[in-house]
């Protein structure tokens, strides 16, 4: 081997090239210099193709998610922190304590190493702040034009405290619907940085790990917390319709009770969007037995990530599984699935 290949990566000005995914020394160097310092933990340090860990008995949950967001850096986060938070939240929605993550990177040839390092560090910071470890990973490089900078896939494993059962089939008519905070912050913050929209806003993404909030809710409500989900793509509307169909129930919402920040409402007004359909990355919606709803709501409001939590409606019996809403104006409407993407209107 020539000496040149032992020269440290120029992270400041260098770019990803095809050798960084070829399985040779360049790839090992990228992992050693960029990923290991950012994500460091005892499992990753072992450098094996897999991470081995002992767990206590009981129920485990596992989830996986691909992150392809554009732009990669947005107000309040970036693809790295998002890839940690999003997967933690999918684990947490079963009431589980997230423990381990894997991360798989698909990099586009030419991607600046400085950006990659920034993303890896952001991932490491997000994981450490949430108290979980990225224990194994993978790196691939594709030719220029075959990807959009960087794609990240993360898989998460979590443990469910003994006896806890949180899933949509437990939802019953009469359950109260609790929302942990305002809608649409993430979607609008990201859209504001899209080059084809470019509008100014002080909004930041709500991207955050929700497992501690979930723990507080379960402590307050126990088995009365029937189900939870984080309304990401498709927004609250898609999540509620999905759950209504899964649980075989209908829902009645009160629009006036649903928190939406004025800046989000204004941006949606301008773009012809409905906050009910805009993505969130740090919010959850919970279905809780009526008797326990006040206590769970109080626990949510006591947590920083649930300070604006609200009771937004009830579960009803409905063979057609409709989600209906009493509008602020006083009339009734459906809250339907989104058809395709939310597209800008023409007039």
């Amino acid at each position: 081997m020539s000496r040149a290949q032992y020269r440290p990566l120029d992270v400041r000005a260098g770019r990803v090239d095809l050798s960084h995914g070829a399985g040779g020394r360049a790839m090992a160097q990228l992992i050693r210099q960029v990923f290991h310092p950012a994500l460091d933990n005892e499992w990753l340090r072992q450098g094996n193709d897999q991470a081995a860990f002992d767990v206590e008995g009981g129920r485990m949950v596992m989830t996986t998610d691909g992150y392809v967001i554009s732009p990669l850096f947005f107000p309040g986060g970036d693809i790295g922190s998002l890839a940690v938070h999003g997967t933690i939240n999918d684990v947490a929605m079963a009431g589980a304590a997230p423990r381990f993550l894997s991360a798989s990177f698909i990099l586009e040839e030419g991607f600046p190493l400085a950006d990659l390092e920034r993303i890896a560090r952001s991932m490491g910071d997000a994981a450490r702040a949430a108290g979980i470890a990225v224990v194994t990973g993978d790196t691939k490089v594709v030719e220029r034009g075959k990807a959009d900078g960087v794609f990240i896939c993360t898989t998460g494993i979590g443990l469910v405290p003994g006896g806890l059962e949180i899933f949509p089939e437990r939802i019953r008519a009469g359950d109260r619907i609790l929302l942990s905070g305002s809608l649409g912050d993430h979607g609008v913050a990201v859209m504001s940085r899209r080059h084809d929209l470019h509008f100014e806003t002080a909004l930041v993404s709500d991207s955050a790990p929700l497992h501690e909030l979930v723990r507080a809710m379960v402590e307050a409500g126990g088995h009365a917390v029937h189900a939870m989900r984080d309304p990401t793509r498709g927004g609250l509307a898609a999540t509620l319709n999905e759950i209504a169909a899964q649980a075989g129930v209908g829902m009645r919402l009160r629009e006036a009770a649903i928190p939406v920040k004025p800046a989000v409402a204004a941006a949606c007004e301008l773009l012809g969007l409905d906050p009910l359909y805009v993505a969130n990355e740090g919010k959850l919606v919970a279905f809780v037995a009526e008797s326990a709803a006040p206590a769970v709501l109080e626990a949510m409001r006591a947590h920083p990530l649930g300070a604006e939590a609200a009771l937004i409606g009830e579960v009803v019996a409905d063979a057609q599984h409709f989600v209906q809403m009493t509008t602020e104006f006083g009339g009734e409407r459906m809250v339907d699935w989104l058809s395709g993407e939310q597209l800008p209107r023409i007039c």
């Binding site: 012809g272 104006f329 006083g330 395709g340 209107r345 023409i346």
Partner: protein, 381 residues
Amino acid sequence: MKHAAEYRDGHLAARMAQRIAAEAVEGAGYRFMEFCGGHTHAISRYGLEDLLPGTVRLVHGPGCPVCVLPVARIDTAIALAAQPGVTLCTYGDLMRVPGSGGASLLRAKAAGADVRMIYCALDAVAIARAEPHREVVLFAIGFETTTPPTARSVRVAQQMGLTNFTVFCNHVLTPAAIQNILESPDVRRLGSVRLDGFIGPAHVSTIIGSEPYAFFAQEFAKPVVISGFEPLDVLQSVLMLVRQVNDGRHEVENQYGRAVSAAGNELAQRDVAEVFELRKSFEWRGLGQVPYSALRLKSAYGEFDAERRFTLSDQPAREVPGCQCGAVLRGVKEPLECRLFGTVCTPESPMGSCMVSPEGACSAYWTYKRFRARPLQGHDA
């Protein structure tokens, strides 16, 4: 934003609704057509009909530019997009509108056509300037609201000396359509559609002003109230229409005074008059051929006219059998009366444009009002 919230105030709405109920004469029956799809959606989105007394019925009109575009024009646009070297720029509304045989611009794009979604007509000019090797075509549609930006784009392209920018023009005119409805057999001879007045367009009227409605308000003795798009605007306009009917008046009144003047936006009108001229006739989906109801580029701007640059001819297209969009657009039928509604025609697989356009009546029913199709259930049944 606070400004917009004031027009959605539930307490004010309840008070306005009480006044309408008090003034609407029992047994009279008031049927008002809201011309604009924007109104149809506001009415559905806020559940406004729940606040009206049973004597007041709202009839949905054809004011959705996507809905009234004949299938043949969509087919022509898709064919245009498929030509090598052509970049077709379109507003998002049109992407999923069905052409013949299940084609759409969205599908054409997936199959490799260069179709780009834009937010503003000038975006298409910017693309043409940045990519001189592409033939950039703006798929221009809309009523009087979107016509001035198209006119502006043509003039800007001319100033820039662009030779790779053209407009596929489908701009149509509101007064011609309203007159067509009032002269239709449904309204005149058959009496299958009774109309006691019109909720007039909001955005269209900011451009053309309130004067163009005076002719048919007088000629057909129908009151017109130009209304804003917020739900309180619509409620107030209904009240104004009820009062006109009660008084036997048929005037053009302007509820949307905060944006609409009698003469409209004269700068925009001058731009439009500079670039466009009337077509002798244009086909509207649902209404058929409507004389002097649409615009095309003047010959002085012929080099920017896609219909002259490319040899385009609309091929005969067939509507999906059973699709009632035409009757819905004329106010003869409600979406729920169409047998395709919610069975084979949904926003995911639309049979007609009324189901997919964000201003279409079928889309409004599907998105907001589907639950009304079934027997009422108790709140906590």
